[in-house]
């Protein structure tokens, strides 16, 4: 059905072929097995919906970007306008790690953003990519393509939201290319309602000296699965992945973060903070790889879990696969536990109630990551009120 | 007395940046020299170069020790010639006990297979002098030691290994008055026992010189010796600060 729609808006022939091939492959491909840790804790079948209504997300505010050097288009318009670039790069970062689900996206996507940031960019304002879902019982396959030219410095906020009570599925695939020395500050905000199943595949490719600040703020969703992989293919490239998960009620979050050090002297840092209330649960699986020929790399990984109720559950597998001894530093650390009673005691001695003290501590716990959201924007206000609402509930 | 160490026109770089620019110095047998200077003036580059740290590259010049050109000697070969460096920041080595480490070092340096019993006796004597608890003998080198304990451990190693040329890189930093006195007394005792041993003492402060009397004082500035003199130079520095010297330099230029 995605195919019909595509033909309607006259997609280029190569794209139609691509979709066809993906559709055929999708039919025969099995869901990923659950032996390796990518799907150990969450059933992939959740993200293979039987819903037949395919819908587009509303790309709120796309019209706003008519500045020099900032090209923000509907993905299809982008494909048409930059056909040569897209024929070469579109889909090139998609591996077969989550094959069935990326094929599902590839064959059915109908909406998403094309972002091309060029050297002549002038404004330093953050570019916001908002995807909103309004319809019940629908499937939203979204495809984003982000291309940052050499040496450009930009801030992007990818925000996914929905009406509170709608029950739908979203499958997003985002590809990010960073040119030599490019700097991207990227935030993925999961603000969907608590009934949506949220699946995101994100792939980033960093050229020499590129820097990516990759932040996940995961607040919404029924079951949310994020599979992110950054490939450091250029020397001296740097990625910092940080994230917060704030789960309540019966929410389930599953983040799989891979950093692949392909080139020498590359640096990565991971800081993932999970706070869980009620019966919420979280799986964090990280994988740091340093290739044989990647010398002098520095990789650290941290995962902190705060279990705030008797029924909260957390799983963590921070893997390291190191194929060279020429490492600058390579380490990971995980902590799991409940709120520090000494801290609560300290705050209560200053007059806070136990509930208030708890809230203060959780806010402090997620604060370093929240600080990454551009201040005084519509988005930061929305995030804050969503957090407030989650902390006050129950 | 004869020359123990002669340094001529020494240029040294680290990470492709030249730090020492044509330094000259000579130290005679039995002398105590003091090196003072600000942070970043090249003092630690100098001590590490003397001991043969692989990251420091000699671009030009010569270091002659006991008549041997040691430019290309590894640090263990320098140690065998009788050099010793008391580190500014001694590194910890997990799992390697102090007693095992010092014993092996003595074995390598002196070739003597001192019996474990005699060794322990000697070690404890020296530990007494430095007021180091015996339990430190079986602890892992510098692991979990306080700043002062690390410094005393360096002096302990010096007195056990009995070198003929001792470089002490800020043995006084981070010490309280009592520990400083202990360390200084140990150095003096050692010097009394081995009068022929020469000492190169790097320090920020005049304080330690209340206990240890130098023959010569050198002041480092921007990777070279800016001024040399007797103990009075240290007092002058203490009074007037390094700026005074810097200005004096400028006026000379």
């Amino acid at each position: 059905m995605g195919q019909k729609l595509a033909e309607k808006v006259s997609e280029p022939q190569w794209l139609i072929e691509k979709r066809k091939a993906a559709k055929q492959a999708f039919e025969v491909e099995l869901l990923p097995d659950r032996v390796s840790h990518l799907w150990k804790y969450t059933d992939p079948a959740i993200f293979n919906p039987q819903i037949t209504t395919v819908e587009s997300v509303s790309e709120i505010g796309m019209w706003r970007y008519s500045e020099p050097g900032v090209e923000v288009l509907h993905i299809l318009d982008g494909i048409k306008k930059y056909e040569d670039l897209m024929r070469e790069k579109f889909g090139s970062l998609i591996d077969n790690k989550n094959l069935k689900l990326s094929l599902l996206n590839e064959s059915t996507w109908v909406s998403g953003y094309f972002v091309y940031i060029k050297k002549n960019k002038q404004s330093d304002d953050p570019v916001s990519l908002t995807m909103s879902m309004e319809k019940l019982k629908s499937f939203y396959p979204v495809r984003n393509f982000i291309y940052i030219e050499d040496g450009v410095d930009v801030k992007l906020v990818e925000q996914v939201c929905s009406q509170d009570e709608i029950l739908s599925d979203v499958n997003i695939v985002t590809e990010i290319f960073l040119g030599n020395g490019a700097k991207l500050d990227f935030i993925n905000l999961n603000m969907v309602g608590n009934k949506i199943n949220y699946h995101l595949i994100q792939r980033a490719n960093l050229s020499a000296q590129a820097q990516l600040e990759n932040t996940f703020i995961s607040l919404g969703g029924n079951v949310s699965k994020i599979d992110s992989e950054t490939k450091l293919v250029g020397e001296h490239s740097v990625v910092m992945v940080s994230g917060i998960v704030l789960g309540n009620e019966k929410q389930r979050f599953d983040h799989h973060i891979t950093v692949n050090h392909v080139a020498s002297n590359t640096i990565s840092g991971l800081d993932f903070r999970v706070a869980l209330k009620d019966s919420a649960n979280s799986a964090y699986t990280g994988n740091l790889k340093i290739a044989v020929n990647a010398l002098g790399c520095d990789a650290t990984q941290k995962n902190r879990n705060l279990l705030l109720s008797d029924n909260a559950k957390a799983e963590s597998i921070p893997e390291l696969e190191i194929l060279t001894n020429d490492v600058k530093k390579c380490s990971h650390g995980v902590t799991m536990g409940h709120l520090d009673e000494e801290q609560i005691y300290y705050l209560m001695s200053r007059g806070f109630s136990d509930k208030e003290a708890e809230k203060v501590i959780i806010e402090g716990f997620i604060e370093p990551i929240i600080l990454k959201i551009p201040e005084h924007t519509l988005i930061s206000g929305q995030v804050k009120s969503r957090i407030e609402q989650k902390l006050n509930k129950g | 007395m004869s020359e123990l160490l002669t340094i001529k026109d020494l240029h040294v770089e680290i990470d492709k940046k030249e730090i020492l620019h044509g330094l000259n110095l000579s130290i005679k047998e039995g002398e105590i020299h003091v090196v003072m200077g600000r942070n970043g003036s090249g003092k630690s580059t100098f001590t590490n170069t003397l001991m043969g740290h692989p990251a420091y590259k000699i671009l030009k010049g010569q270091i002659n020790f006991k008549g041997v050109d040691i430019n290309n000697l590894k640090s263990n070969e320098r140690a065998k010639l009788g050099m010793f460096l008391g580190f500014q920041y001694p590194i910890s080595i997990p799992g390697v006990t102090v007693v095992n480490f010092i014993r092996q070092a003595i074995k390598v340096l002196k070739g003597d297979n001192i019996s474990p019993k005699d060794f322990r006796k000697r070690l404890y004597e020296k530990m007494d002098l430095l007021e180091i608890d015996y339990s430190f003998a079986t602890r892992y080198i510098n692991e979990g030691f306080s700043g002062g304990e690390k410094k005393r451990m360096e002096i302990l190693q010096m007195s056990m290994l009995e070198p003929c040329f001792v470089i002490l890189d800020e043995p006084d930093s981070g010490l309280d008055i009592d520990s400083l006195k202990l360390v200084a007394e140990s150095i003096n005792n050692f010097k009394k026992q081995f009068p022929k041993t020469s000492i190169l003492l790097v320090t920020h402060y005049q304080r330690i010189l209340d206990y240890i009397k130098p023959d010569k004082v050198h002041v480092f500035l921007d990777g070279n010796i800016a001024d040399s003199g007797g103990p009075e130079l240290a007092l002058e520095l203490e009074k007037r600060g390094y700026d005074w010297l810097e200005k004096a330099q400028v006026s000379v230029l």
């Binding site: 097995d33 963590s316 893997e319 190191i322 536990g337 | 990251a55 590894k74 590194i91 799992g95 290994l161």
Partner: protein, 468 residues
């Protein structure tokens, strides 16, 4: 003596004896082989049935899909000898042991060690325990220390009560294989409030090419008792592979303490696929000290189920992966299933000369296990650029009143440490060896003196260019 870090040392225990055996099964695994083992051992019916059931499970279970699947799939089950009986009679004194077998153990230093500091010794050669002894005073206290076959014959009630309760054949394919063809291993029972002060030791030796050794060990420490068991293993170097697949079950009853020490030094043609598991009841302590020096592929994750309040579990493991023909896939599993239980995992691995060392671990806290404290620390040292280190830790925490910390580091020998040691006169190789030994120290210091010395020597040899 000069050290050469770039060369592999020759395996010291690679010699083998000529075969002069009472019985050797054909190659391959069939129902007849299993029945024949059971019949020769004159086993009770329940055990024969257990073996046959296990064989079915083995045949049904697929090979593991995780771990080093490439190496695992090299195992040719049809090419293995499943049961080899070297002699008719078990010796009570070393004089009773057939001469060439005794020579082997002489060369391994076992009788000498026994005289010096062991409370009991068991020596297994191929499928059977050929020598066995226990100090008389312990015998009088009621301590039982036998080979597993004798244990089954003489104490069937105890064996039946505990056997395969910790590791059922359904657990995994190799546990099923062991359950079908097991032979030898140790059976230990320590009566309540009895402390076995000196270690009991078992030594396992494979001699035949393509041999499969499947010993089965069961240790029960009754309330308030304590015991330390040590095992060592070696095999000759052959061009084709042997298989060692043991099952070890430990039961520490209320306030009991079991320490189980392994120094595995199989030759590099042995697949070492072992299931080891313990349960610790209220206030009990179980410690696995697990040293992996040899083998082609080791997959072994000693586990502890802390099922009683205040039980404590500890795993200290070291692995040395040396050469591109060696993969040490080792680790630990701790399951907290009761309140106020505590655990510590310390893992140290060294990879060199293209070797691969993997840590694979699980830390699980069940709901209701409040007040749990656990620390997991994994350090990997890599000595050269073509080696590999992996860390696969898993944490599943289903209770909020816990305190869990996990840390892992991968590093090479730091230049600053080398400089420090060399500035005191040590040569580069000597300094490196000192750093490596220091790295292993948390394991070595837990060993009885004689083993610590032996292990340090082993590391030194492994790091050296040649023997001697």
């Amino acid at each position: 003596m000069t050290l050469d870090l770039n060369q592999d040392q020759e395996y010291k225990y690679g010699f083998h004896d000529t075969e002069n055996y009472t019985f050797k099964s054909g190659r391959g695994l069939t129902k007849d082989v299993v029945l024949n083992i059971s019949k020769m051992k004159k086993e009770p019916d329940w055990m024969t049935e257990f073996r046959l059931r296990s064989l079915d499970i083995f045949n049904q279970k697929p090979m593991p899909k995780w771990g080093d699947t490439k190496l695992l799939n090299e195992i040719d089950f049809e090419n293995i000898f499943y049961y080899v009986k070297p002699t008719e009679k078990q010796g009570k004194t070393w004089e009773e042991v057939p001469k060439d077998i005794k020579n082997t153990f002489d060369r391994l230093g076992i009788p000498e060690a026994e005289r010096k500091f062991l409370a009991g010794v068991s020596a297994q050669y191929e499928s059977e325990v050929i020598y066995h002894s226990l100090r008389e005073d312990l015998e009088k206290l009621g301590v039982l220390f036998f080979d597993m076959d004798t244990g089954l014959r003489e104490y069937p009630e105890i064996v039946k009560k505990y056997f395969a309760t910790i590791i059922p054949p359904e657990d995994n394919k190799f546990a099923a294989l062991n359950s079908a063809v097991w032979s030898g291993g140790s059976f230990i029972y320590v009566p309540p409030n009895t402390q076995v002060e000196m270690p009991l030791q078992a030594y396992f030796r494979i001699n035949t090419e393509n041999m499969g050794q499947f010993e089965r060990t069961l240790i029960i420490a009754d309330e308030g008792s304590s015991v330390h068991y040590i095992e060592g293993c070696t095999a000759p170097t052959y061009s084709s592979d042997s298989l060692h697949s043991a099952v070890v079950e430990l039961i520490a009853l209320k306030n009991a303490k079991i320490r189980y020490t392994t120094i595995q030094n199989w030759s590099k043609n042995v697949f070492n696929l072992v299931t080891k598991r313990a349960v610790a009841h209220e206030g009990a302590v179980v410690e696995w000290l697990d040293g992996n020096m040899g083998s082609k592929l080791t997959m072994k994750y000693p586990s502890i189920y802390l099922i009683g309040e205040r039980a404590h579990g500890e795993v200290v493991s070291v692995a040395l992966a040396s050469g591109s023909d060696q993969h040490q896939d080792a680790g630990a599993k701790i399951i907290h299933a009761a309140p106020n239980t505590t655990s510590v995992i310390t893992s140290k691995s060294i990879s060199r000369n293209g070797g691969r060392a993997s840590y694979r671990g699980l830390l699980k806290v069940h709901k209701g296990a409040t007040g749990v404290k656990s620390t997991v620390k994994c350090d990997a040292l890599m000595l050269d650029a073509n080696s590999r280190s992996d860390t696969y830790p898993t944490m599943e925490i289903y209770e909020n009143d816990v305190k869990i910390e996990h840390e892992a580091t991968v590093s090479k020998i730091e230049d600053e440490k080398l400089f420090y040691l060399m500035s005191r006169g040590l040569g580069e190789d000597q300094a490196k060896l000192m750093i490596v030994n220091g790295f292993m120290e948390p394991f070595v210091k837990e060993l009885p003196m004689e083993y610590a010395v032996e292990l340090n020597r082993l590391i030194e040899l492994e790091m050296e260019g040649s023997v001697g």
